[in-house]
């Protein structure tokens, strides 16, 4: 098992301040192998925690260790860590494959080995067919997947993934979640940040909930799932036939509200069962029930995710 390193990922009393602004405070965590989600709204400290883990920022106080390696030693750390950031910046004119080869060149691999690793990573994220196209011509979802391939291409034991499902269409989302599950099952450490609680429900073995830089809850996902079950969630679907899609959803028992945001390309759906919503949407996407249906994106509406989070954090704080 790849992740059976006794030390795991350890945060020992870690605080990070940006001047007088709090990033995270007094974080004590021991992250085991498998999928761990960092959950919280924007500004709760998820990315700070991930950047601390990758050594991109230094802790003001405390110690961090990743499989026994301090983040201040990138030459050792990134042999075992891959980080998929949210930042979308690529060399001008580079293709997906060239981008990965340029990154792998820094690992000192031979050309042949680098080419093999790049190809394997591209296949793993289902981007092999578009590998020789310029990244500038990639869709948002493809860019997300090439970043994922970059994080994966050197076969790391620890994967840090910052909002990795952002921008993916339903099919790619399902495939990526399956990939995470497979990686987790291999015994790797996956640390995933998300402000979308439904994603956490779908992929995590355990969850770390953050609020204003503090860890407010951590543990197995079941508890969070129980809390979420009856709380409605809203999704914005951008697609080619929103009226037809609305008509297809209108009789679904989990549906609470339907709203056409823009008659030509956007629909807002409120559901009490996100899993059933995704299942229904995936079925429609792959069937011919709505001819010419093209789903550009599915994104949980932020406000709603925030409200669920507040709901959960509120309960947690009452329990303390």
């Amino acid at each position: 098992m790849k992740g059976s390193v006794a030390s795991g990922i350890i945060f020992k009393n870690v605080s990070k301040f940006y001047g007088e602004v709090l990033g995270v405070n007094r974080v004590n965590l021991a992250i085991p192998p498998g999928i761990t989600s960092l959950v919280g709204p924007n500004g709760s400290g998820k990315t700070t925690l991930m950047n601390l883990l990758a050594g991109l920022v230094q802790p003001t106080r405390g110690e961090i260790s990743v499989l026994g390696i301090p983040p201040g030693q990138p030459e050792r750390l990134f042999r075992v860590v891959g980080y998929c950031t949210q930042f979308d910046s690529y060399p001008a004119g580079a293709t997906g494959r060239e981008f990965l080869l340029a990154f792998l060149a820094l690992f000192g691999h031979s050309r042949a080995e680098a080419a093999g690793r790049a190809q394997a990573a591209l296949e793993r994220v289902k981007l092999a067919e578009a590998a020789d196209r310029k990244i500038a011509a990639y869709s948002k979802g493809m860019r997300q997947r090439i970043r994922l391939a970059q994080a994966l291409c050197h076969d790391p034991q620890v994967l840090i993934l910052d909002e990795p499902l952002n921008g993916l269409d339903p099919l790619a989302r399902a495939e990526t979640i399956a990939l995470f599950r497979a990686l987790g099952a291999e015994g790797r450490y996956l640390v995933i940040s998300s402000h979308v609680l439904h994603e956490v429900d779908a992929i995590s073995d355990q969850v770390v909930m953050l609020s204003y830089g503090y860890v407010v809850a951590e543990g197995k996902i079941h508890g969070v799932r129980e809390e979420m079950r009856d709380h409605p969630m809203r999704f914005q679907v951008r697609c080619s036939h929103p009226r037809e899609l609305a008509a297809a959803f209108v009789r679904e028992p989990h549906l609470l509200e339907l709203r056409l945001l823009n008659p030509n390309d956007a629909l807002l759906i409120t559901t009490r069962d996100p899993a059933a919503f995704y299942l229904g949407l995936n079925r429609l996407a792959v069937s011919d029930a709505i001819p010419g249906l093209d789903i550009a994106s599915v994104a949980p509406a932020d406000d709603d995710a925030g409200s669920v989070y507040d709901y959960l954090v509120g309960h947690g704080e009452e329990a303390r």
Binding site: L56, F78, Y83, F87, D88, L106, G108
Partner: protein, 354 residues
Amino acid sequence: MSPTLGQVGVVFRRELRKTFFARRGLWIYLLAIAPFLLFFGYTLQNRIEARQRLAWASQQQKPLAAADFASIRRGMAESEVVARLGEPARRRMFLRRRRAANDQIQFVQIEWLLYSDGSSLYYIVIQDGKVVRVQTRPAPTLGDLNRLFATVFQFFYLRLAVFFGCLGIFMNLFRGELLDKSLHFYFLAPVRREVVLAGKFLAGLAAAVAIFAGSVALQLALLGRVGGQGLGHFGAYLGVTALACLGYGAVFLAAGLMFKNPIAPAVALLLWESLAPFLPAMLKKLSVIYYLTQLCPVSVASGPGTSPIFALLVSAPDPIPPTAALVGLLLLAALVLAYSARRVRSLEIDYTSE
């Protein structure tokens, strides 16, 4: 090759391509090419004047020598001038506007009699039928060319073009990547930060030397100073340019790691470098220009009519031997680079605050 050197090579190649083809660096090429354009204009003018010297010498009434023109005095009548020198090759007439004592506008006729002795052009200026001035435009000598080049090199090229060019290249190496949100490409790879710094610095240096030393080579080639006796100067100027890129490059690399906004450090450094001649001996040694001017093959000497400020700027009150200047500059660059290496280890990527 060791893995570390291999990584330096990877960073170097990637950064070199980026530096040469950066759209935001277009102005650096313009800065580098500016003196070339200046010397191109100068050379063109010299060629035209050389042709004029020969043409006028053949067109005037009789062949003349420098001594003939020395006999022309202020106040001499035009007819007397023509009697001594013969009919000029060209005559040019102008009307000059002048305000008279009663505040009335008057027009005064000015005439130029244009002669040549084959090596100089002479403009004898006649007003109210009398000589008021004799202007001589001799062909530039080798010494003139050397002094002209040295002046442009020291006062424009080193202090402004290379200075701001290095600012554009070296501050961009880290600060530009932070603005583009792309620095994590290196910082998420198993590469020591110092290795990234070394690769980036060497790429910046190679690009800066290629651009600025390349321009110097073109300028000297244009002035015909690349062969024979000029070869020593050619080598020395290329060397000083390369050292300027090294010195300013190291300083701006460090500034790029320390400051978000390049304007403030650039202005401060420009002031510091400009004030170097006025600084005490100890502080002078902390300026790049101090070492560079000592290594220039031609000094820009001040003559009797030179302003005191210019004289102070061109003087070298604490001259040191070239070897000491070279060692001093290398030491200064090494110290600044060592500081940068320390600084880059603790550099944080926080794109949201950029």
